[in-house]
């Protein structure tokens, strides 16, 4: 076994021990769903920083974004304006959401929607959408781990990495089951340290070895232009709208993912959220650096049919063997932590907002059911990567985001207004979901759809088309229902709850 593989195994083993020990962190009865899934809502600025960062910087950042830059050039850099605009949105939306959630004791986003609009059907729509959207994001984490296992080869790569992935997920599921949110929160410290070390080393070593940034960009420009399907370091004017809508659509959906909501609700005060929203963009610098690794791989002459393999290939070529092991551990642990938080968030939604609507279980049973469901979520993610081929790994996240954005009117606009009729919101949601699915199929599971209209053609992110239709239907529906003077649902919240 190579020294890199030994370093990787040692770090993952260390983190696993930490995951089980996390159950003892702070006092709490882990058979209570709030203690298990939200860490007892006691996390301060410091822990929340690592937890939220742990959530948001994942295999998406390490594998999927560089892969898109490697394959599609400038278009892949949309992830940078995405993370620059996500935090101002978070700042405004999440503080308001945290306030109302704490006052009313919500543990999920769907709890709020039910209370606000007095509608069980809307609650179930929101919960199911969030659960479904989390599955491809978990799948993306698995793709990231798989790319490392394939690079290591030998037993790791046995049956396309199936054995290694299964073991990784049994380990993940086991400590998530025992420790709940405390496990990923504690491991996030290790994960972020590894990520910082890796990215800083990469930023120093790789451009120097490749002859500097000017050289990397000029070689990349030549190589991208000479490909059978030429791309460029700059956008085509026809890509402007796609670029901006992918950034905006991703930014709008980032903080309504169940895993972000989970981490936000675990914070102990609204001020913690405000500070973190202001500080977290510092992480985005890492993201920009990682995106540019796509060009480093081009300049290093790395050729691979599978674009997710390029970062592991680059690390293996540029770093000494033992340090490549550290970098691989950063990718694997960086995928395990968010996958755990996502699975917890989704399980929480299912138990609180879907299952409990039909059958009330006692609090103790509730937590046990949520724990079992985390296992099911991980299993679904595993199935997806073996059975759903997408053009780029990042499409998993983008397509999940397109579906998720359809709950934006109920959840985010709902924080400010009750103007919409719940029935109209359900109808708008259904139209948005149907349109997203139709466009995904029509575009071959790529994130952008080209609309031909009156001789113009416009390529944009599916999520935004669907959201526009969703809002139009919800607004028209509301006007129609109001005219029919249908009784409004009851609002369980009062204005003072939001301040």
């Amino acid at each position: 076994m190579s020294s890199g593989a030994i370093v990787l195994l040692a770090l993952v083993a260390g983190v696993t021990v930490l995951g089980f020990l996390a159950a003892r962190w702070g006092r709490g009865d882990l058979s209570n769903i709030e203690e298990w899934s939200l860490g007892g809502r006691r996390f301060g600025t410091f822990v929340s920083w690592f937890l939220l960062g742990g959530d948001l910087y994942t295999a998406y950042t390490f594998i999927a974004v560089p892969a898109l830059v490697y394959g599609a050039g400038a278009l892949g850099f949309f992830a940078v304006p995405y993370t620059a605009t996500a935090y101002p949105i978070a700042f405004v939306v999440l503080v308001r959401f945290w306030n109302i959630a704490r006052r009313r004791g919500y543990i999920t986003a769907a709890d709020f929607v039910r209370d606000r609009f007095g509608s069980r059907s809307l609650e179930i729509c929101v919960a199911l959408t969030s659960i479904v959207a989390a599955v491809p994001y978990i799948a993306l984490q698995l793709v990231g781990m798989k790319s490392v296992f394939m690079q290591l080869g030998g037993t790791f790569a046995w049956h396309d990495g199936l054995l290694a992935l299964t073991i990784a997920f049994i380990v993940l599921a086991a400590y998530t089951y025992t420790s709940g949110l405390r496990a990923p929160a504690l491991i996030a410290f290790v994960k972020d340290t590894l990520i910082y070390v890796t990215v800083i080393a990469a930023a120093v070593v790789i451009p120097a070895k490749l002859g500097g940034w000017a050289h990397i960009f000029s070689v990349s420009a030549a190589v991208l232009a000479a490909r059978p399907k030429p791309t460029s370091l700059y956008l085509q004017p026809s890509q402007y709208v796609a670029y901006a809508t992918m950034a905006l659509g991703s930014a709008m959906s980032l903080f309504i993912y169940p895993h972000s909501i989970t981490s936000v609700l675990a914070a102990k005060s609204a001020e913690v959220i405000r500070r973190n929203a202001a500080l977290l963009p510092i992480y985005s610098i890492l993201l920009a650096m990682l995106a540019l690794l796509g060009y480093c791989a081009v300049a290093a002459g790395i050729v691979s049919k599978d674009s997710t393999a390029i970062v592991p290939l680059l690390f293996a070529r540029m770093f000494p063997d033992w340090f490549a092991g550290v970098a691989f551990a950063a990718i694997v642990i960086g995928a395990l932590v968010p996958a755990a938080i996502m699975a917890i968030g989704a399980a929480n939604l299912f138990v609180s907002n879907v299952f409990n609507e039909f059958s009330h279980v006692r609090p103790r049973g509730e937590a046990r059911l949520a724990k079992l469901l985390t296992l099911a979520m991980c299993g679904c993610g595993l199935l997806i990567i073996f059975f759903v081929p997408v053009p780029y790994a990042i499409d998993f996240q983008l397509l999940g985001g397109a579906l998720l954005l359809q709950i934006f009117p109920s959840l985010v606009l709902g924080l400010w207004t009750r103007w919409f009729q719940p029935g109209a919101l359900v109808l708008g949601w259904a139209c948005g979901i149907a349109l997203s699915c139709a466009m995904m199929v029509a575009s071959g599971f790529s994130a952008n759809y080209t609309l031909h209209l009156f001789g113009f053609s416009l390529s944009a992110f599916i999520a935004i088309y669907a959201l526009i239709v969703n809002l139009a239907v919800a607004s028209l529906g509301t006007l129609a229902l109001r005219r029919g003077s249908l009784a409004l649902g009851t609002d369980g919240t009062v204005p003072g709850d939001y301040a």
Partner: protein, 65 residues
């Protein structure tokens, strides 16, 4: 309260700055060999937390710690 809300308008700037690629989709002026398209967007990643910091300070309640 109304005066404090005005601070939130600062948060519109990152959107204006980054969501119109037609304005920054070019090579020059390059910085340390990095084309404008790339370093300009990275600059916004640094400016955004500064702007949010301004809003945090501007809207802080007196009893906040």
């Amino acid at each position: 309260m109304k005066g404090k809300r005005r601070w939130y308008l600062v948060l519109i700037l990152p959107f204006v700055g980054t969501l119109f690629p037609a304005f920054y989709n070019r090579a020059e002026p390059a910085l340390f060999g990095v084309p404008f398209f790339y370093w300009y967007q990275c600059l916004w990643v640094l400016l955004t937390p500064v702007m949010m910091g301004i809003v945090v300070l501007g809207t802080r309640e007196r009893d906040d710690v």
